[in-house]
Protein backbone atom coordinates (compact mmCIF):
# COMPACT_ATOMS: atom_id res chain seq x y z
CA UNK A 1 0.00 0.00 0.00
CA UNK A 2 1.28 3.46 -0.77
CA UNK A 3 1.24 6.29 1.68
CA UNK A 4 -0.11 9.75 1.01
CA UNK A 5 0.75 12.87 2.95
CA UNK A 6 -0.71 16.22 4.06
CA UNK A 7 0.83 19.67 4.46
CA UNK A 8 0.06 19.30 8.19
CA UNK A 9 2.56 16.41 8.30
CA UNK A 10 0.14 13.50 8.59
CA UNK A 11 0.39 10.28 6.61
CA UNK A 12 -2.52 8.21 5.31
CA UNK A 13 -2.56 4.61 4.18
CA UNK A 14 -5.79 3.31 2.64
CA UNK A 15 -7.03 -0.29 2.70
CA UNK A 16 -10.45 -0.59 1.04
CA UNK A 17 -12.48 2.27 2.49
CA UNK A 18 -10.51 2.52 5.76
CA UNK A 19 -7.60 4.95 6.12
CA UNK A 20 -4.89 4.50 8.76
CA UNK A 21 -3.59 7.91 9.88
CA UNK A 22 -0.45 8.96 11.73
CA UNK A 23 2.13 11.75 11.88
CA UNK A 24 5.23 11.76 9.71
CA UNK A 25 8.83 11.06 10.64
CA UNK A 26 9.52 14.75 9.95
CA UNK A 27 6.71 15.78 12.32
CA UNK A 28 8.00 13.65 15.21
CA UNK A 29 11.51 15.04 14.70
CA UNK A 30 10.18 18.59 14.84
CA UNK A 31 8.10 17.88 17.95
CA UNK A 32 10.86 16.18 19.90
CA UNK A 33 10.17 13.81 22.79
CA UNK A 34 6.44 13.06 22.79
CA UNK A 35 5.02 12.82 26.33
CA UNK A 36 1.25 12.86 25.80
CA UNK A 37 -1.21 11.74 23.14
CA UNK A 38 -4.98 12.23 23.15
CA UNK A 39 -7.03 10.30 20.59
CA UNK A 40 -10.68 10.66 19.56
CA UNK A 41 -13.27 8.10 20.68
CA UNK A 42 -14.18 5.29 18.36
CA UNK A 43 -17.39 6.25 16.56
CA UNK A 44 -16.53 9.95 16.38
CA UNK A 45 -17.14 11.72 13.08
CA UNK A 46 -14.10 13.69 11.91
CA UNK A 47 -14.00 16.11 9.02
CA UNK A 48 -11.12 16.98 6.75
CA UNK A 49 -8.95 19.72 8.28
CA UNK A 50 -10.62 19.52 11.72
CA UNK A 51 -8.63 18.84 14.90
CA UNK A 52 -8.88 15.11 15.64
CA UNK A 53 -6.09 14.31 18.13
CA UNK A 54 -3.51 16.05 20.32
CA UNK A 55 0.19 15.32 20.58
CA UNK A 56 2.41 17.04 23.13
CA UNK A 57 6.18 17.01 23.52
CA UNK A 58 8.21 18.31 26.48
CA UNK A 59 8.08 21.78 24.98
CA UNK A 60 5.02 22.09 22.76
CA UNK A 61 1.44 21.01 22.12
CA UNK A 62 0.14 20.33 18.60
CA UNK A 63 -3.17 19.37 17.06
CA UNK A 64 -3.32 16.46 14.69
CA UNK A 65 -5.83 17.29 11.94
CA UNK A 66 -8.04 14.77 10.20
CA UNK A 67 -6.72 14.54 6.65
CA UNK A 68 -10.00 13.02 5.47
CA UNK A 69 -13.69 12.99 6.43
CA UNK A 70 -15.25 9.93 8.00
CA UNK A 71 -15.92 7.89 11.14
CA UNK A 72 -13.19 6.79 13.57
CA UNK A 73 -13.32 2.99 13.65
CA UNK A 74 -10.16 2.26 15.69
CA UNK A 75 -7.55 4.14 17.73
CA UNK A 76 -4.05 3.10 18.81
CA UNK A 77 -4.18 2.94 22.61
CA UNK A 78 -0.54 1.77 22.68
CA UNK A 79 0.69 5.33 21.92
CA UNK A 80 -1.49 6.73 24.71
CA UNK A 81 0.09 4.29 27.16
CA UNK A 82 3.61 4.89 25.80
CA UNK A 83 3.80 8.21 23.89
CA UNK A 84 7.54 7.72 23.18
CA UNK A 85 6.48 5.15 20.54
CA UNK A 86 5.55 8.11 18.34
CA UNK A 87 9.23 9.09 18.22
CA UNK A 88 10.40 5.53 17.66
CA UNK A 89 7.97 4.31 15.02
CA UNK A 90 6.02 7.29 13.64
CA UNK A 91 5.19 5.94 10.18
CA UNK A 92 4.25 2.40 11.13
CA UNK A 93 3.48 0.99 14.61
CA UNK A 94 2.67 4.42 16.09
CA UNK A 95 -0.41 5.08 13.93
CA UNK A 96 -3.04 7.29 15.57
CA UNK A 97 -6.46 6.27 14.21
CA UNK A 98 -8.33 4.40 11.49
CA UNK A 99 -11.10 6.29 9.72
CA UNK A 100 -13.84 4.82 7.52
CA UNK A 101 -13.87 7.22 4.61
CA UNK A 102 -17.00 9.12 3.64
CA UNK A 103 -15.54 10.28 0.31
CA UNK A 104 -12.58 8.50 -1.25
CA UNK A 105 -12.34 11.40 -3.69
CA UNK A 106 -10.69 13.43 -0.91
CA UNK A 107 -7.58 11.27 -1.36
CA UNK A 108 -6.85 13.13 -4.60
CA UNK A 109 -5.99 16.23 -2.58
CA UNK A 110 -3.08 14.51 -0.78
CA UNK A 111 0.58 14.38 -1.78
CA UNK A 112 2.60 11.33 -2.69
CA UNK A 113 5.99 10.63 -1.06
CA UNK A 114 7.98 12.62 -3.63
CA UNK A 115 5.57 15.55 -3.35
CA UNK A 116 5.74 15.53 0.46
CA UNK A 117 9.54 15.30 0.55
CA UNK A 118 9.72 18.30 -1.81
CA UNK A 119 7.22 20.17 0.40
CA UNK A 120 9.32 19.50 3.54
CA UNK A 121 12.54 20.47 1.77
CA UNK A 122 10.98 23.74 0.63
CA UNK A 123 9.30 24.72 3.93
Amino acid sequence: MTKRYTKDHEWVEVDGDVATIGITEHAQEQLGDVVFVELPSVGKQVSRGGAAAVVESVKAASDVYAPLTGEVVAVNDAIVADPAKVNQDAESGAWFMKVKLADKGELDGLMDKAGYDAFVAGS
Binding site: V35, E56, K59
Partner: protein, 381 residues
Protein backbone atom coordinates in the same frame (compact mmCIF):
# COMPACT_ATOMS: atom_id res chain seq x y z
CA UNK B 1 4.26 26.57 11.90
CA UNK B 2 6.09 29.67 10.63
CA UNK B 3 4.88 33.16 11.46
CA UNK B 4 5.45 34.56 8.00
CA UNK B 5 7.51 37.42 9.45
CA UNK B 6 10.76 38.61 7.91
CA UNK B 7 13.79 36.56 8.93
CA UNK B 8 14.40 37.63 12.54
CA UNK B 9 17.81 35.92 12.55
CA UNK B 10 19.20 38.96 10.72
CA UNK B 11 19.30 41.03 13.90
CA UNK B 12 20.16 38.28 16.37
CA UNK B 13 23.34 38.33 18.43
CA UNK B 14 25.54 35.29 18.87
CA UNK B 15 27.52 34.14 21.89
CA UNK B 16 31.24 33.34 21.47
CA UNK B 17 30.24 29.65 21.39
CA UNK B 18 27.92 29.88 18.38
CA UNK B 19 30.29 27.86 16.15
CA UNK B 20 30.63 25.19 18.85
CA UNK B 21 26.85 24.77 19.06
CA UNK B 22 26.53 24.45 15.28
CA UNK B 23 29.42 21.97 15.21
CA UNK B 24 27.62 19.84 17.84
CA UNK B 25 24.45 19.78 15.75
CA UNK B 26 22.38 22.08 17.98
CA UNK B 27 19.02 23.39 16.84
CA UNK B 28 19.38 27.17 17.12
CA UNK B 29 16.42 29.40 18.03
CA UNK B 30 15.96 33.10 18.83
CA UNK B 31 15.94 33.80 22.57
CA UNK B 32 16.20 37.23 24.23
CA UNK B 33 17.81 38.68 21.13
CA UNK B 34 20.35 35.87 20.75
CA UNK B 35 20.58 32.85 18.53
CA UNK B 36 20.77 30.09 21.16
CA UNK B 37 20.83 26.28 21.20
CA UNK B 38 17.40 24.98 22.24
CA UNK B 39 18.57 21.38 22.04
CA UNK B 40 21.42 19.21 20.81
CA UNK B 41 20.96 15.86 19.02
CA UNK B 42 20.39 14.12 22.40
CA UNK B 43 17.02 15.92 22.68
CA UNK B 44 15.33 17.81 25.52
CA UNK B 45 14.17 14.77 27.51
CA UNK B 46 17.54 12.98 27.61
CA UNK B 47 19.44 16.24 28.15
CA UNK B 48 17.23 16.92 31.15
CA UNK B 49 17.73 13.46 32.65
CA UNK B 50 21.48 13.54 31.93
CA UNK B 51 21.82 16.75 33.94
CA UNK B 52 20.02 15.21 36.93
CA UNK B 53 22.21 12.08 36.77
CA UNK B 54 25.62 13.29 35.58
CA UNK B 55 26.73 16.77 34.48
CA UNK B 56 25.21 19.12 31.91
CA UNK B 57 27.08 22.04 30.33
CA UNK B 58 25.11 25.17 29.37
CA UNK B 59 26.20 28.23 27.41
CA UNK B 60 24.60 31.12 29.30
CA UNK B 61 26.83 33.82 27.82
CA UNK B 62 23.74 35.76 26.76
CA UNK B 63 23.16 36.70 30.40
CA UNK B 64 24.35 40.10 31.55
CA UNK B 65 27.53 40.30 33.61
CA UNK B 66 28.49 43.57 35.29
CA UNK B 67 30.21 44.90 38.39
CA UNK B 68 29.29 47.79 40.63
CA UNK B 69 32.29 49.59 42.10
CA UNK B 70 32.36 51.84 45.17
CA UNK B 71 34.84 52.98 47.80
CA UNK B 72 34.29 49.97 50.11
CA UNK B 73 31.84 47.13 50.68
CA UNK B 74 29.56 48.97 53.10
CA UNK B 75 29.19 51.92 50.72
CA UNK B 76 28.57 49.81 47.60
CA UNK B 77 26.22 47.42 49.41
CA UNK B 78 24.21 50.30 50.90
CA UNK B 79 23.92 51.91 47.46
CA UNK B 80 22.61 48.75 45.80
CA UNK B 81 20.34 48.03 48.79
CA UNK B 82 18.42 51.16 47.77
CA UNK B 83 17.29 49.22 44.65
CA UNK B 84 16.80 45.65 45.98
CA UNK B 85 15.30 44.04 49.13
CA UNK B 86 18.15 41.55 49.70
CA UNK B 87 20.56 41.94 52.62
CA UNK B 88 23.79 42.99 50.91
CA UNK B 89 25.48 44.70 53.85
CA UNK B 90 25.53 41.34 55.58
CA UNK B 91 26.99 39.55 52.57
CA UNK B 92 30.39 38.03 53.46
CA UNK B 93 33.37 38.19 51.08
CA UNK B 94 33.03 35.61 48.31
CA UNK B 95 29.34 34.96 48.98
CA UNK B 96 26.37 35.26 46.59
CA UNK B 97 22.87 36.62 47.20
CA UNK B 98 19.75 36.14 45.05
CA UNK B 99 17.63 39.30 44.97
CA UNK B 100 15.41 41.48 42.76
CA UNK B 101 15.56 44.99 41.31
CA UNK B 102 12.21 46.54 42.24
CA UNK B 103 9.96 49.23 40.81
CA UNK B 104 8.76 52.00 43.13
CA UNK B 105 5.59 50.02 43.77
CA UNK B 106 7.41 46.77 44.50
CA UNK B 107 7.13 45.04 41.11
CA UNK B 108 10.10 43.03 39.86
CA UNK B 109 12.24 44.75 37.20
CA UNK B 110 14.53 41.73 37.15
CA UNK B 111 15.89 39.02 39.41
CA UNK B 112 19.65 38.74 39.75
CA UNK B 113 22.62 37.24 41.54
CA UNK B 114 24.88 39.60 43.50
CA UNK B 115 28.34 38.39 44.52
CA UNK B 116 30.62 40.18 46.98
CA UNK B 117 34.17 39.98 45.68
CA UNK B 118 36.41 37.78 47.82
CA UNK B 119 38.20 40.72 49.42
CA UNK B 120 41.54 42.51 49.42
CA UNK B 121 41.86 44.92 46.51
CA UNK B 122 38.38 43.89 45.29
CA UNK B 123 36.64 45.21 48.42
CA UNK B 124 33.80 47.52 47.39
CA UNK B 125 33.00 45.54 44.27
CA UNK B 126 29.70 43.70 43.75
CA UNK B 127 29.39 41.44 40.72
CA UNK B 128 25.96 41.16 39.11
CA UNK B 129 24.48 38.52 36.81
CA UNK B 130 21.16 39.58 35.25
CA UNK B 131 18.73 38.15 32.69
CA UNK B 132 19.58 38.54 29.01
CA UNK B 133 16.13 39.91 28.19
CA UNK B 134 16.44 42.62 30.87
CA UNK B 135 20.08 43.66 30.85
CA UNK B 136 19.67 46.96 28.97
CA UNK B 137 16.77 47.95 31.26
CA UNK B 138 18.65 46.89 34.41
CA UNK B 139 21.83 48.75 33.54
CA UNK B 140 19.95 51.94 32.65
CA UNK B 141 17.97 51.68 35.90
CA UNK B 142 21.06 51.18 38.08
CA UNK B 143 22.97 53.99 36.37
CA UNK B 144 20.01 56.37 36.68
CA UNK B 145 19.64 55.67 40.40
CA UNK B 146 23.28 55.39 41.48
CA UNK B 147 25.59 58.31 40.76
CA UNK B 148 29.14 59.01 41.80
CA UNK B 149 31.17 57.63 43.51
CA UNK B 150 29.56 54.41 42.26
CA UNK B 151 30.38 53.06 38.86
CA UNK B 152 28.69 50.26 36.90
CA UNK B 153 31.08 48.44 34.64
CA UNK B 154 29.44 46.16 32.09
CA UNK B 155 31.46 43.16 30.94
CA UNK B 156 30.26 42.20 27.43
CA UNK B 157 33.64 40.51 26.83
CA UNK B 158 32.92 37.87 29.49
CA UNK B 159 31.29 34.56 28.59
CA UNK B 160 29.37 32.44 31.11
CA UNK B 161 29.06 28.66 31.35
CA UNK B 162 27.00 26.60 33.77
CA UNK B 163 28.07 23.07 34.69
CA UNK B 164 25.22 21.42 36.60
CA UNK B 165 24.52 18.01 38.06
CA UNK B 166 25.77 15.54 40.67
CA UNK B 167 29.07 14.93 38.82
CA UNK B 168 29.76 18.65 38.20
CA UNK B 169 32.13 18.93 41.17
CA UNK B 170 34.17 15.89 40.16
CA UNK B 171 34.41 17.02 36.53
CA UNK B 172 35.32 20.63 37.29
CA UNK B 173 37.85 19.74 40.01
CA UNK B 174 40.04 18.01 37.38
CA UNK B 175 40.71 21.42 35.82
CA UNK B 176 39.94 23.82 38.64
CA UNK B 177 40.64 22.23 42.05
CA UNK B 178 39.50 25.37 43.92
CA UNK B 179 35.94 24.76 42.73
CA UNK B 180 35.44 21.64 44.83
CA UNK B 181 36.06 23.58 48.06
CA UNK B 182 33.34 26.16 47.35
CA UNK B 183 30.21 26.17 49.50
CA UNK B 184 26.76 26.61 47.92
CA UNK B 185 26.28 30.29 46.96
CA UNK B 186 30.00 31.04 47.26
CA UNK B 187 32.38 32.25 44.55
CA UNK B 188 36.08 32.74 43.94
CA UNK B 189 38.60 33.80 41.37
CA UNK B 190 40.24 30.66 40.02
CA UNK B 191 42.07 29.14 37.10
CA UNK B 192 40.73 26.51 34.70
CA UNK B 193 43.80 24.73 33.29
CA UNK B 194 45.63 28.03 33.73
CA UNK B 195 42.85 30.18 32.22
CA UNK B 196 41.71 33.04 34.48
CA UNK B 197 38.07 32.59 35.49
CA UNK B 198 35.55 33.36 38.22
CA UNK B 199 33.67 30.34 39.59
CA UNK B 200 30.38 30.41 41.54
CA UNK B 201 28.68 27.45 43.17
CA UNK B 202 25.17 28.21 41.96
CA UNK B 203 22.82 27.45 39.11
CA UNK B 204 19.31 27.21 37.75
CA UNK B 205 18.52 23.49 37.77
CA UNK B 206 18.05 22.55 41.44
CA UNK B 207 21.22 20.44 41.21
CA UNK B 208 24.67 21.08 42.64
CA UNK B 209 26.76 22.93 40.11
CA UNK B 210 28.85 25.88 39.07
CA UNK B 211 28.78 28.96 36.90
CA UNK B 212 32.09 29.82 35.28
CA UNK B 213 32.73 33.35 34.03
CA UNK B 214 35.61 33.49 31.58
CA UNK B 215 36.95 35.85 28.88
CA UNK B 216 35.10 35.36 25.57
CA UNK B 217 38.46 34.68 23.88
CA UNK B 218 39.11 31.70 26.17
CA UNK B 219 35.63 30.24 26.54
CA UNK B 220 35.84 27.86 23.57
CA UNK B 221 38.82 26.10 25.18
CA UNK B 222 36.93 25.65 28.46
CA UNK B 223 33.81 24.48 26.58
CA UNK B 224 35.77 21.97 24.48
CA UNK B 225 37.63 20.62 27.52
CA UNK B 226 34.41 20.10 29.46
CA UNK B 227 32.39 18.60 26.59
CA UNK B 228 35.26 16.12 25.98
CA UNK B 229 34.58 14.63 29.43
CA UNK B 230 32.58 11.39 29.20
CA UNK B 231 30.33 12.52 32.06
CA UNK B 232 29.37 15.81 30.36
CA UNK B 233 26.78 16.55 27.67
CA UNK B 234 25.96 20.00 26.26
CA UNK B 235 22.44 21.02 27.28
CA UNK B 236 20.14 23.43 25.46
CA UNK B 237 17.57 25.98 26.57
CA UNK B 238 14.74 23.43 26.30
CA UNK B 239 16.10 21.29 29.12
CA UNK B 240 17.25 24.39 31.01
CA UNK B 241 13.58 25.39 31.11
CA UNK B 242 12.23 21.99 32.19
CA UNK B 243 14.97 21.64 34.83
CA UNK B 244 14.27 25.02 36.41
CA UNK B 245 10.50 24.45 36.23
CA UNK B 246 10.77 21.15 38.13
CA UNK B 247 13.01 22.90 40.67
CA UNK B 248 10.34 25.59 41.16
CA UNK B 249 12.61 28.42 40.00
CA UNK B 250 11.10 31.53 38.38
CA UNK B 251 11.67 32.59 34.77
CA UNK B 252 11.58 36.34 34.29
CA UNK B 253 8.83 37.56 31.94
CA UNK B 254 6.77 34.46 32.68
CA UNK B 255 6.59 33.78 36.44
CA UNK B 256 7.71 37.22 37.58
CA UNK B 257 7.53 40.69 36.01
CA UNK B 258 6.88 44.32 36.93
CA UNK B 259 3.32 43.47 38.05
CA UNK B 260 4.38 40.80 40.58
CA UNK B 261 5.93 41.54 43.96
CA UNK B 262 8.51 39.24 45.57
CA UNK B 263 5.94 38.32 48.23
CA UNK B 264 3.34 37.32 45.64
CA UNK B 265 6.07 35.39 43.82
CA UNK B 266 6.84 33.36 47.00
CA UNK B 267 10.32 34.90 47.13
CA UNK B 268 9.89 36.39 50.63
CA UNK B 269 12.72 34.12 51.81
CA UNK B 270 15.11 36.28 49.75
CA UNK B 271 14.16 39.50 51.59
CA UNK B 272 16.58 40.09 54.46
CA UNK B 273 15.07 40.19 57.98
CA UNK B 274 16.73 43.53 58.68
CA UNK B 275 15.42 44.90 55.38
CA UNK B 276 11.81 43.89 56.17
CA UNK B 277 11.96 46.07 59.28
CA UNK B 278 14.15 48.92 58.09
CA UNK B 279 12.90 49.14 54.51
CA UNK B 280 14.88 51.57 52.38
CA UNK B 281 14.11 49.77 49.10
CA UNK B 282 11.51 50.56 46.42
CA UNK B 283 8.02 49.27 47.21
CA UNK B 284 8.76 48.66 50.89
CA UNK B 285 5.28 49.85 51.96
CA UNK B 286 3.55 47.30 49.72
CA UNK B 287 5.96 44.50 50.56
CA UNK B 288 5.73 45.10 54.33
CA UNK B 289 1.94 45.11 54.08
CA UNK B 290 1.94 41.90 52.02
CA UNK B 291 4.27 40.18 54.51
CA UNK B 292 2.06 41.28 57.44
CA UNK B 293 -1.41 40.68 55.94
CA UNK B 294 -0.68 38.24 53.12
CA UNK B 295 -0.68 39.13 49.41
CA UNK B 296 -3.87 39.05 47.32
CA UNK B 297 -2.42 36.25 45.18
CA UNK B 298 0.53 33.92 45.40
CA UNK B 299 2.75 31.84 43.13
CA UNK B 300 2.19 28.13 43.76
CA UNK B 301 3.00 24.82 42.15
CA UNK B 302 0.21 23.18 40.14
CA UNK B 303 0.16 19.43 39.56
CA UNK B 304 -2.30 18.37 36.85
CA UNK B 305 -3.76 14.90 37.39
CA UNK B 306 -2.98 12.42 34.65
CA UNK B 307 -0.40 12.96 31.92
CA UNK B 308 -1.53 16.01 29.95
CA UNK B 309 0.64 19.12 30.42
CA UNK B 310 -1.00 22.50 31.07
CA UNK B 311 0.96 25.32 29.42
CA UNK B 312 1.57 28.99 30.15
CA UNK B 313 -1.64 31.05 30.04
CA UNK B 314 -3.93 28.19 31.12
CA UNK B 315 -6.88 29.42 33.21
CA UNK B 316 -7.04 28.06 36.77
CA UNK B 317 -10.55 27.71 38.25
CA UNK B 318 -11.91 27.00 41.71
CA UNK B 319 -14.28 24.09 42.39
CA UNK B 320 -17.21 26.24 41.26
CA UNK B 321 -15.66 27.11 37.88
CA UNK B 322 -14.64 30.70 38.72
CA UNK B 323 -11.26 31.87 37.40
CA UNK B 324 -8.80 32.24 40.29
CA UNK B 325 -5.55 32.61 38.35
CA UNK B 326 -3.38 31.58 35.43
CA UNK B 327 -0.49 29.22 34.85
CA UNK B 328 2.73 31.13 34.15
CA UNK B 329 4.99 28.15 33.30
CA UNK B 330 3.91 24.63 32.57
CA UNK B 331 5.06 21.53 30.77
CA UNK B 332 6.14 17.97 31.28
CA UNK B 333 8.73 17.24 33.97
CA UNK B 334 10.98 14.42 32.76
CA UNK B 335 12.33 13.65 36.26
CA UNK B 336 8.94 14.07 37.93
CA UNK B 337 7.66 11.88 35.05
CA UNK B 338 4.49 13.94 35.16
CA UNK B 339 3.12 17.28 34.04
CA UNK B 340 4.27 20.14 36.28
CA UNK B 341 3.35 23.82 36.34
CA UNK B 342 3.42 26.98 38.40
CA UNK B 343 1.13 29.95 38.44
CA UNK B 344 -0.64 32.55 40.53
CA UNK B 345 -3.87 31.89 42.43
CA UNK B 346 -5.98 34.02 44.75
CA UNK B 347 -4.62 33.65 48.26
CA UNK B 348 -7.71 31.77 49.48
CA UNK B 349 -6.83 28.93 47.11
CA UNK B 350 -3.07 28.90 47.65
CA UNK B 351 -2.87 26.25 50.37
CA UNK B 352 -1.05 23.05 49.36
CA UNK B 353 -3.60 20.35 48.55
CA UNK B 354 -6.32 22.70 47.29
CA UNK B 355 -8.23 21.14 44.36
CA UNK B 356 -8.44 23.32 41.28
CA UNK B 357 -9.49 22.95 37.65
CA UNK B 358 -7.42 23.81 34.56
CA UNK B 359 -9.03 24.72 31.27
CA UNK B 360 -7.01 22.90 28.61
CA UNK B 361 -8.46 22.75 25.09
CA UNK B 362 -11.92 23.71 26.38
CA UNK B 363 -11.92 20.82 28.82
CA UNK B 364 -11.51 20.93 32.58
CA UNK B 365 -8.49 19.03 33.90
CA UNK B 366 -8.37 18.24 37.62
CA UNK B 367 -5.25 19.52 39.39
CA UNK B 368 -4.01 20.36 42.84
CA UNK B 369 -1.96 23.13 44.41
CA UNK B 370 1.49 21.93 45.49
CA UNK B 371 4.81 23.29 46.61
CA UNK B 372 6.49 24.56 43.40
CA UNK B 373 9.55 22.37 44.11
CA UNK B 374 8.57 19.23 42.19
CA UNK B 375 12.03 17.69 42.38
CA UNK B 376 13.98 18.16 45.63
CA UNK B 377 16.99 20.47 45.39
CA UNK B 378 20.39 18.79 45.61
CA UNK B 379 22.48 21.81 46.48
CA UNK B 380 25.93 21.39 48.08
CA UNK B 381 25.46 21.20 51.85
Amino acid sequence: MGTGAADPAAQLLRTPLYAEHVKLGAKMVPFAGYEMPVQYPLGVLKEHLWTREKAGLFDVSHMGQAALFGPNHDATAAALEALVPGDLLGLQPGRIRYTQLLTDDGGIIDDLMVTRAAGGADDGRLMLVVNASRKAIDYAHIEARLGLPFKLEIAPDRALLALQGPLAERVLAKHCPEAAALAFMAATRAEFDGIECHVSRSGYTGEDGFEISVAETAVATVWQTLTADADVQPIGLGARDSLRLEAGLCLYGHDIDETTSPVEAALTWSIGKRRRVEGGFPGHARIAREIADGPARKRVGIRPEGRQPAREGTVIQDAGGREIGRITSGGFGPSANAPVAMGYVEIGHAAVGTSVGLIVRDKRLAASVTDPTFVPHHYKK
